[in-house]
Amino acid sequence: MSGITVVSHSAAETRGIGAALGALLRAGDVVLLAGGLGAGKTELTKGIGAALAVDAVIVSPTFTLARRYPGRPPLLHVDLYRLERVQELLDLGLEEEGDDAVTVIEWGDIASAHLPGERLEVQVDHVAVGGGSLDHRLITIAPQGPAWHARDADLARVLHGLT
């Protein structure tokens, strides 16, 4: 995936990166989070939530599939981990639920063809080598669609502060 990659050395740093991204997000925006189990997708979402002034504790919605948090704007946190078919995705009604919110979709990459083309794609990769001597996350951020590309400068400014 092409995009800008930043490095996180801790969960707190991952949340910080999420918060920096969150400050850019507006109602109607969609963020796809990709990366394996334990990569840090939920930590990143917690950071985004903090930037949206979400008070509640954000937990992975693996079992509830989607959870909406009051915020400015609200946060719709979705996890596709338990879904198998496109129909189940449609059943969530994300277009309507997410219309006035920031929608963050964990495992969004499995449904990328069925999600809005205008979106921010974020890949979180866990890199651990040498029995923990090297243990960090590579977070790659790639805007998709003309509306997001128009926000390239904003994104670059935010990401520049992180690298």
Binding site: A34, L80, L83, E84, R85, V86, Q87, E88, L89, L90, D91, G93, E95, E96, E97, D99, W107, D109, I110, A111, S112, A113, H114, P116, G117, E118
Partner: protein, 231 residues
């Protein structure tokens, strides 16, 4: 022969009771997405106001979309459950038809356009014919700009109708020779649903409750792309 008509394919909750010749009553609640809370009370109120006994209903007519999923699910499920409980048939009608029918007196090609979110619209084109409209395209989903380009190329004088036109007013404003229907035509008409369903009832064109499904247009049978991710 009274029909109860329900359409929840858009932000509107619409309910009507009547037969082919006349409408007994209609309820339209605009602008919400609380279909689940509003639909059953709206039906109850309308039944009470019109004095129509539920066990005298001949059929339940329902708009099956395409439209917004959450509302659609509430409307279609309610129609199926009521039909099953009352042991009467369901008459499914595509919601785009319910947008085109009320403007059938136009001389133009009618293009019904409903907001599909994700910056897309559901649409279909119709020609006015005596007593109604005849659909001349498939039901489709796509970008408003692509629809405008297609209509430009077609060169017909068109009448654009439906909430998808208002949602993408800037895009449709670029279309020459187009006329826009007023906001009162933006949502699928449950009065039209009563009229169309009554005609189908006379022809015995109806379904059993379990046969009726929402019309999604977007692909829904496919599997999600786990294979690529899990390797």
């Amino acid at each position: 022969m009274q029909v109860l008509a329900i359409d929840t394919a858009t932000m509107q909750v619409g309910v009507a009771i009547g037969d082919g010749g006349s409408l007994r009553g209609e309820v339209r609640l605009a602008g919400g997405r609380r279909h689940a809370e509003e639909l059953a009370p709206a039906i109850r109120q309308l039944v009470a106001w019109t004095g129509v006994r539920l066990d005298h209903l001949a059929a339940i007519a329902v708009g099956i979309g395409p439209g917004l999923f959450t509302g659609l699910r509430v409307g279609v499920t309610t129609a199926k459950v009521m039909a099953q409980a009352l042991r009467i048939p369901v008459i499914p009608v595509v919601s785009l038809d319910l947008v085109a029918y009320p403007v059938r007196h136009s001389r133009r090609v009618i293009v019904a356009v409903l907001d599909a979110r994700r910056r897309e619209v559901f649409h279909a084109a119709y020609r006015p014919v005596p007593g109604g409209v005849q659909r001349v395209t498939d039901y489709q989903v796509g970008r408003p700009a692509d629809l405008v380009a297609e209509l430009e190329a077609g060169g017909d004088e068109v009448l654009l109708v439906g909430d998808g036109v208002t949602a993408h007013a800037d895009v449709f404003a670029g279309l020459d020779r187009a006329e826009l229907a007023g906001p009162e035509f933006a949502a699928p008409s449950t009065a039209a649903l009563v009229a169309l369903a009554s005609a189908r009832y006379e022809q015995e064109e109806f379904s059993t409750p379990w046969e009726v499904e929402p019309l999604y247009l977007r692909e829904s049978d496919a599997e999600l792309g786990w294979e690529a991710v899990r390797g």
